[in-house]
Symmetry: C2
C-alpha cells in the first residue's frame, strides 16, 4: 500500500503538470479572469478524474498524448462546478481545501464568470485533441460524452435536484438520482473517454461505464462518511457540514455501518468488472482500493 | 423594405421552431431546470445569431439539416450569457424583453445553474451534428470555433473586462476590445460556422469573419444609440440604463452623430465584403441593412 500511495502521488503530480499546461497565460485585458481560473484549478484536489481517465486509456493500450487535453478538460469542468457550488446563492462556502473559495478571493461576479469560463474552456481544450489524431469521429464522440455527462442529464442535472431539495428530507430514490448524476456522471465520463480514446469497443465502453458508476457511488458515500468521521484538519474543509445544513445523505438514510459496508461492496464490484476486461492495470486496481480507505 | 421585414419575421419563426425543437422536455427529477432553460430561451429575442448562421450557410450553397443543431447551440449560448448577465451580482436586472429575468422567475441559485446548463447543453446539441454528416472533422471545427468564440478569448473574455470596469471610465482601446469580444465574437462564430458547415474554403471563412466583425460592431453601437434614443415601450427594457450605470459607451465616447455615421459605414463595409464573396444572398444583404435601421 505504501508503494501504491507513492504511485498515486506521482500520478497526481503528472496529472497536475498536464492540466496546468493547458491553463491560460495570465496576461492581457482579461488577466483577472485568467488568474481566477488558474487560482481555482491550482487550489488542489485529488485529480481523480484525469488520473482515472489516463489509467483506463492505458488499460486499453492507449499510449499517445491525445488523451492529455481531455484530462485537462475534465478537471476544468470539475473545478467549474466547485466554483459555482461555493457561491453565496448555492452552498455559501468560504473555504475549500483550506483556501479561500473563488468568490471570496475574486468577488461574486468574477466567480460566476470564472465558472462559466472554465466550463467552456474545457470544451475548447478538449477540441485540441482534434489536431492530435487523424480520427476526428473519436474525439467528437468524447466531446459528446463530456458534454452529456456534464449537462442536464449528468452532473448539472444532479446539482439542480440537490439544490432544489436543500433543507428538505430527500427520499432514497431522489438521493440515488442525485448521487448517480452529481458525482457519478463525471467519473463515468472520465473513464469512458479513456476507453474511447484508446479505441475500446462499444461493449467495452459500456462495461467501463458500469465500473465507473460503482466507483462514483462508492466515492460519494465515502464523502458522506468522512463528513461525519473526519476532522477539518485532515479534510481541509469543515466537517459535519451535512448535519449543519440539514442535508439528507447516504449516512443519514442508511447509517454509518451500512454505508461503510456498501462502499466496500461497490469497490469490490468495480474491481470484479475491471478483472472482466481484457487489459491489465494494477495501479487502477490500487486506485479503486484507495478510494475505500481514503481519509480525505 | 416591407417585404424584407416579412422575410425577417418568417426567418425568426423558422429559427425559433428549430431552436425550440432542441430544448429539453419538461419532465423528470430535473423538471425545474428544464423549465428555467426553456423559459429563458423562449423569452424572445431577435434570433439574429441562428438566422445569420443559416443565411451564410445558404450563401455558400448549404442545404442540409446539419446546420440546425448548431443554430440551436448558438442561441443557447447567447441565452446563457444573458441569464448570468442579469444576475444580482452582475447587472442586477429584473426585466428583459418585458419579462421577468430568470433569477427573478426561478431564484438566484437556479439561474446560475440554468446558465451553466444552457452553456454546456449547447455543446451537447452542437455535437448532434456529428450524426448528420459523414464529415466529423467539419463538425469538430465548428465546435472548436463555437467554444473559442464563446470563451475567454471571445464573449466571456469581453464580459469579464466589461464587469471589471463597471463604474469606471473606459478608455477607447478597452471599449473596442470589449465590443469586439462581448458582442462581436459570437456573431463571428455564427457566420463562420455557417460557412464551415457549407464547405467554404479557409480564405472564405476568413472573409466571413471580417464581415461578421463589422456587423458585430455596428450592432453593438446601434445598441448604445437605442439606449439613448429609444423608449422602454419600444425596446422592452429600461432605456438610459448606460447613463444610470455610469457606463462608458461608444455614444458617450464618440457622440451620437459619429456613432450613427459609424454604424452606417460599418454596415456598408459588411455589404461590400458580402459582394466580394462568390455566392449571392439577397436576404443577408437586407438583414445587414435592417441592423442599421432597427429600432429595438
Amino acid at each position: 500500500m505504501e508503494n501504491a500511495k507513492e504511485r498515486l502521488a506521482q500520478a497526481v503530480k503528472e496529472a497536475e503538470e498536464i492540466v496546468y499546461s493547458y491553463l491560460p497565460a495570465e496576461e492581457g485585458h482579461q488577466k483577472t479572469i485568467f488568474e481566477a481560473m488558474n487560482y481555482s484549478v491550482k487550489a488542489g484536489g485529488k485529480r481523480l478524474r484525469p488520473i482515472l481517465m489516463r489509467e483506463v486509456y492505458r488499460l486499453f493500450g492507449g499510449q499517445g498524448k491525445e488523451i492529455e487535453p481531455l484530462m485537462a478538460a475534465i478537471e476544468m469542468i470539475h473545478t467549474s462546478s466547485l466554483i459555482h457550488d461555493d457561491l453565496p446563492c448555492m452552498d455559501n462556502d468560504e473555504y475549500r481545501r483550506g483556501k479561500k473559495t473563488t468568490w471570496v478571493a475574486y468577488g461574486y461576479d468574477m466567480a460566476v464568470l470564472a465558472g462559466d469560463a472554465l466550463l467552456i474552456y474545457a470544451i475548447e481544450t478538449a477540441a485540441k485533441a482534434f489536431a492530435m489524431t487523424p480520427d476526428a469521429a473519436k474525439v467528437g464522440r468524447c466531446i459528446q460524452i463530456l458534454s452529456e455527462k456534464t449537462g442536464i442529464y449528468g452532473m448539472i442535472g444532479g446539482q439542480t435536484v440537490d439544490v432544489e431539495l436543500t433543507n428538505q428530507p430527500i427520499p432514497k430514490d431522489k438521493l440515488d438520482f442525485i448521487y448517480r448524476l452529481k458525482t457519478g456522471a463525471l467519473l463515468e465520463a472520465s473513464m469512458v473517454i479513456g476507453a474511447v480514446m484508446a479505441g475500446a469497443s462499444k461493449a467495452e465502453c459500456g462495461t467501463v461505464e458500469r465500473m465507473a458508476a460503482a466507483i462514483g457511488l462508492a466515492f460519494q458515500i465515502q464523502d458522506d462518511i468522512l463528513d461525519v468521521t473526519s476532522s477539518q484538519e485532515v479534510l481541509g474543509k469543515p466537517v459535519l457540514s451535512d448535519e449543519k445544513n440539514n442535508k439528507t445523505t447516504y449516512v443519514t438514510l442508511e447509517g454509518i455501518e451500512k454505508s461503510k459496508h456498501d462502499v466496500k461492496q461497490l469497490s469490490e464490484t468495480a474491481v470484479d468488472i475491471l478483472y472482466s476486461l481484457p487489459g491489465k492495470n494494477e495501479f487502477l486496481e490500487e486506485l479503486i482500493e484507495m478510494l475505500v480507505s481514503r481519509e480525505k
